[in-house]
């Protein structure tokens, strides 16, 4: 084990995979000398040359499309998008092309493409640099969606993503890059997709949380422990594929669930998760499943306004109390 930041865990995993497999390469805006604007590819060009750590023009659609073409012909590209908001610039290539190629062509193609980058609030980046994009990609079949919340998961999930023969949208969070944690040194360390992590065990309510809200949920769980409420916290880690079993098993124990994320609440991931629980575990529920997510409002610039849009810890506290009828 080594202690490293989330950003370094990503960089080290990229380096290890590039050492292991000459087909793996990185391309994106400012990924070479600049090391990516968040440092996730820092110094990689020194070891692997600018042939395998490619600076690109600001052409997100062509960047993803070129990744598809390379992935279909024997390479394993990792395309960095500087902000996940820029997926919208490349939407045709991601959703009409990458996600559909295997199916449309009768299962005769493989597209081992990773599109990675960061999203979310925390740096005052406002409406076009702070969005949470995962719901769009959950809706269209054919692309996997990973959302690591710790350095160890960033490393383990990214390695799985690079070795996966399907397109993967690998969503990091800008406010997690500086977070430190223990990461296994094993260059074969992987976290399988579709395996949720039970972050904290509990008896009375299940909180399903992603990215920054995993830590917030832990803090809420500690607070509620003093009120005699035992909270189980689960991080799905990948939304596609989604580990239903771990969540349903938890709900069968706690009989109560709250889903929280930074993405908009309306038609967000929480809607899918809550509906799944109600469809498959209705008889287990002692309270309606509650969802917390960003208001249906563009992410504002001002810090106070930004915080007013995304769910706060106090709201999660209230929600858990509510499902426990406290």
């Amino acid at each position: 084990m080594s202690t490293k930041t989330y950003a370094v865990a990503i960089r080290d995993t990229l380096a290890e995979e590039m050492r292991r497999d000459p087909a793996v390469f990185v391309m994106g805006e400012d990924v070479a000398e600049q090391g990516g604007i968040f440092g996730c590819t820092r110094d990689l060009y020194r070891e692997f040359s600018k042939d395998r750590v490619r600076n690109t023009p600001i052409s997100e659609a062509a960047l993803v499309g070129a990744g598809i073409g390379a992935a279909s012909t024997g390479m394993r590209p990792v395309v960095e998008l500087m902000y996940m908001d820029f997926t919208y610039v490349a939407m045709d290539q991601i959703l009409n092309q990458a996600a559909k190629i295997r199916y449309m062509f009768g299962g005769r193609a493989r597209v081992p493409l990773v599109i990675r980058g960061q999203q979310g609030i925390g740096r005052g980046n406002a409406g076009q640099h702070s969005q949470s994009v995962e719901a769009f990609f959950m809706h269209i079949p054919g692309i996997k969606v990973a959302m690591p919340s710790t350095p160890a998961d960033a490393a383990g999930l990214l390695r799985t993503a690079i070795r996966d023969d399907n397109p993967v949208l690998f969503i990091e969070h800008k406010a997690l890059y500086a977070v430190k944690g223990e990461v296994p040194d094993d260059p074969e360390y992987t976290v399988p997709f579709g395996s949720a992590r039970v972050v904290r065990e509990g008896r009375d309510a299940t909180v399903i949380a992603t990215h920054l809200y995993v830590d917030k949920a832990l803090r809420v769980a500690n607070t509620l422990m003093k009120e005699g409420i035992s909270v189980e916290v689960i991080d799905p880690r990948t939304l596609i594929p989604f580990d239903e079993q771990t969540i349903l098993k938890s709900v069968a124990k706690t009989h109560r669930a709250v889903v929280i994320h930074e993405a908009h609440k309306n038609a967000g991931p929480g809607a899918e998760i809550a509906a799944t629980i109600m469809e498959k575990a209705f008889d287990e529920l002692d309270a309606p499943v509650l969802r917390l997510g960003a208001k249906a409002c563009t992410l504002p610039f001002n810090l106070g306004l930004e915080n007013a849009v995304v769910p706060q810890e106090s709201e999660l506290l209230d929600a858990v109390r509510r499902v426990c009828y406290r």
Binding site: A62, G65, G142
Partner: protein, 324 residues
């Protein structure tokens, strides 16, 4: 194969494509085909001449009007026709249809129903070839309409900056569905846009197989030599409507008939005969065999099984282990 021998082979392929499209049109009329079917008749010289210069491991991406590219790249007409009919034996097991035929074994990375959608994918295949150090080239086929998509600009710039072994073949058939090029496009010759990327651009008579062949050879040789991409604009005309049900209010019968006089197959035939490269009997024989090949493909497709609805969820994801 010498260029002269290749021309006879191009003639053979143009006839296969023409027969394929005529049969497809007829099958659509009999309700044996559904969906959108965009026919390539009239443009055969482009696909046949360009693909005659490509090896099996060279790449192409194609567009919604893609049957010609697929056949010219060497794909079996039986599996192509079966895909048009949505059969299990089709290239895509009935999942793709006319607009989504791919044949990875022949380097065809797929037709595309998004105008311009295949251009960056061909660019990426060229990047892959360059990074792997092969002598493969990658050809993107697209129409005049696609040259007005942003992705055209992004892709050509990228290929030029990275000197990729790519050839961009724009088939300018005069219309984006109903809108004539002069109403949609800022320049009469799309090839001049190559100057914006610092790469060669060439206008060629797309109904002249020999001219297309010569221009494509320059572009492909340049790509294989590591000198970067070329934009080739082939001026041509589609004989059928945009799709099989197109009422064609935007053009006159006289205009279509005038272009039919400029039939690329007739033209190549006259050239082959005039230059003594083949006898009339030999060319008749090629034509008859093309008809037979396509008729057999139709039979094969009609007699092929439907895909099993119980397997409709297969292949959304690759479920096997990692390939490496």
């Amino acid at each position: 194969m010498s260029m002269d021998e290749r021309l006879v082979d191009i003639y053979r392929m143009m006839n296969i494509i023409r027969k394929f499209e005529e049969h497809a049109y007829e099958l659509f009329g009999r309700n044996l085909l559904r969906g959108s079917v965009h026919l390539y008749a009239g443009q055969e010289a482009v696909a046949a001449s360009v693909c005659a210069l490509l090896d099996d491991d060279d790449y192409i991406t194609s567009n919604h009007r893609g049957h010609g590219h697929c056949l010219a790249k060497g794909s079996d007409p039986r599996y192509a026709m079966a895909e048009l009919m949505g059969k299990e034996t089709g290239f895509c097991k009935g999942r793709g249809g006319s607009m989504h035929i791919a044949d990875f074994g022949k380097g065809n990375l797929g037709a595309n129903a998004i105008v311009g959608g295949g251009i960056p994918i061909a660019t990426g295949a060229a990047l892959s070839a360059k990074m792997r150090g092969t002598r493969q080239v990658s050809v993107a086929f697209f129409g005049d309409g696609a040259s007005n998509q942003g992705i055209f600009h992004e892709s050509l710039n990228l290929a030029a900056v990275w000197k990729l072994p790519a050839v961009y073949v724009c088939e300018n058939n005069g219309f984006g569905i109903s809108v004539p090029v002069r109403e949609s496009t800022s320049v009469p010759d799309i090839a001049v846009r190559a100057a914006a990327y610092g790469i060669p651009g060439e206008v060629v008579d797309g109904n002249d197989a020999t001219a297309v062949y010569a221009a494509a050879r320059r572009a492909i040789e340049r790509a294989r030599a590591g000198e970067g991409p070329t934009l080739l604009e082939c001026k041509t005309y589609r004989w059928f409507g945009h799709w099989t049900g197109d009422p064609q209010v935007y053009r006159t019968r006289e205009e279509v008939e005038a272009w039919k006089e400029k039939c690329p197959i007739k033209r190549l035939r006259a050239e082959l005969l005039a230059r003594g490269l083949a006898s009339a009997e030999a060319l008749d024989e090629l034509e008859a065999r093309a008809e037979q090949t396509v008729a057999e493909a139709v039979e094969f497709a009609i007699s092929s099984p439907e895909p099993d609805p119980a397997r409709v969820m297969d292949d959304v994801f690759y479920e096997g282990g990692a390939s490496l």
